[in-house]
Amino acid sequence: MSQSVTPVSAAPGVTIPVAADSPARQFMRRFSRQKLGVAAFVVLVGLFLLTFIGPVISPYDPIKPDYNTLLQPPSAGHWLGTDEFGRDILSRVIYGTRISIAVSLSSVVIGSVIGTFVGLTAGYYGGNYDSLVMRTCDVMFAFPGILQAIAIIAILGPGLHNVVVAVAIYTVPQFIRIIRGSTLALKNMMYIEAARSVGIPDRLIIWKHIFPGTFSIALVYFTMRIGTAILIAASLSFLGLGAQPPLAEWGAMLSSGREYLMSAPHVALFPGLAILITCLAFNLFGDGLRDALDRKIVD
């Protein structure tokens, strides 16, 4: 956005020179033009900062109850009001950032790393291995995500660690599909064949040529999946399968808040908004990334 645009009537052929650029620099330039994406990025940076400085800036202890201030609506003392144990909702929402982001991030990281690895190898080597992987994915796709997660938690028991595992397992086949798809496309690119023709070994081809090619899609998908992971984790907490009290996790807060939806709507509203905003920020950031990386990558 820092580049000024010459009026159309400028002398023929006169243009603003553009610095000779690497793909990374090009990307930065294009991304900086995505207004929504940049805004989302700023929000995300803010959220990440919150996870570190949250304990410093949050006005109250997030788990210490105060039975004299139950379910108070937002006020000067408690900007977002208090919950059913008289705890400050603002402080809990701030602490919740750390948990929600840690859970969603780690589950998607695990899921995407495994999924990317399997997707790359399945797509590149093909054959029976590929068929096996794809059939397995098909079976996993046949069950709706939340059911999968519930089932996995049912086996492993509730708790945040297991939410991470459940969401990671749910994420894996999605990544396998995406990465395998783009691996198949890249595999047929001339430059892959060119690399093979000069004798580059397969594993290096996968690592140095195909993986970077899938990386942008993986990254975009990664950011969007984080949003989904937050929602799934929230649903699990909503069903009592996620974070254990008194942990300030947004889904759990929302879940306990739903009982007061009519009498004290702020209890559910703010964690709900926190989920919405975070999820929105990740998705919009992903959109921005996608547009900046390549217009051809579709949702």
Partner: protein, 325 residues
């Protein structure tokens, strides 16, 4: 003469499976290369021409085992490449290199040019960073690029420059044989000439042997010592360029040559305009593949596939018109 043969392709076949139906069963084959034999002498350039889809690229890629041959032998320096293990073949690629048609698609857009060129060295045992850098720069200069340009990315180059990068990549291992698959087709005419000259210069300097694939008959004629004409997966005519262009024997070659627009607005000439399209290689005609379009087709052409016939020691044609009985 024996001594001079670098590459000998014998009865090479490459069939692609057509899979269909539910269980992805093989329902047919695309006979992309069907029983092709030829030899290339050290230091010469063999041109291969033919229309789109006739199997030129597949021939080239199968020789390098970028595609696994369905049948046949590829004798390179007396070794049958088709019999090597994957890893042996990978190491052998040091000696045979390829230049690709599309200078845009054949360079990884995410790598700096020097990395693209130098990448092959570690794969063949050169791991010293300084040595790699030295050789990359040397090769860049050989191909008319500067060392500074090596730090740039492919999208910052024009088509011609990219093709130079592609040539540099092939050259850095100092191969004996380069298979050039339409190296100039994607380039503008004014740039084409630069690349052709570069290839010729390099050939002289390093004693390279070329298999030069193109659909442009004029370019092939210019660069090649000998020329082979392919039609629908088969070689139909092969011989010294001079002879083949002055006196084409196969009706297909004749038609091909007469179809080329001449840059002389006043020239009046007799044209053979072929009827119909090239048949699908998945379902080629039973006899001579060219018979359905051939103005000189005979009854026998429809049923019997003509074999390669030697008209002279260096000239062969596969056509019933030239059967020696």
């Amino acid at each position: 003469m024996e001594q001079a043969t670098l590459l000998e392709v014998k009865n090479l076949k490459k069939y692609f499976e057509i899979r269909g139906g539910l269980l992805q069963r093989v329902t047919g084959y695309v006979k992309a290369v069907d029983d092709v034999s030829f030899a290339v002498q050290r230091g010469e350039t063999l041109g291969i021409v033919g229309e789109s889809g006739c199997g030129k690229s597949t021939t080239g890629r199968t020789i390098l085992r970028l595609l696994e041959p369905t049948a046949g032998q590829v004798m390179f320096d007396k070794i049958d490449l088709a019999k090597l293990s994957r890893e042996e073949m990978r190491r052998k690629r040091k000696d045979i290199q390829m230049v690709f048609q599309d200078p845009y698609a054949s360079l990884n857009p995410r790598m700096a040019v020097a990395d693209i060129i130098g990448e092959a060295l570690p794969a063949h045992g050169v791991t010293d960073g300084a040595e790699i850098r030295r050789r990359v720069n040397e090769t860049l200069e050989l191909c008319g690029l500067t060392a500074e340009q090596g730090q740039r990315y492919p999208h910052e180059f024009s088509g011609g420059q990219r093709q130079r990068v592609g040539i540099a990549r092939a050259l850095i291992l100092r191969p004996k044989l380069i298979i050039a698959d339409e190296p100039v087709s994607a380039l503008d005419v004014s740039i084409q000439a630069q690349i052709i000259n570069l290839l010729q210069d390099l050939q002289v300097q390093f004693g390279l042997t070329y298999v030069f694939i193109s659909h442009d008959l004029s370019v092939v004629r210019h660069i090649s010592n000998r020329v082979g004409v392919m039609y629908l997966g088969r070689l139909v005519e092969i011989g010294f360029a001079e002879e083949l262009y002055e006196n084409p024997r196969h009706p297909y070659t004749q038609a091909l040559l007469s179809s080329i627009p001449r840059t002389d607005p006043l020239a009046k000439r007799e044209r053979v305009i072929l009827q119909g399209d090239v048949p699908s290689p998945a379902n080629p005609p039973p006899g001579c593949a060219f018979a359905p379009r051939c103005p000189k087709a005979m009854e026998v052409c429809k049923t019997v596939r003509p074999e390669m016939t030697e008209l002279s020691k260096s000239y062969q044609v596969a056509c019933h018109l030239f059967r020696t009985e």
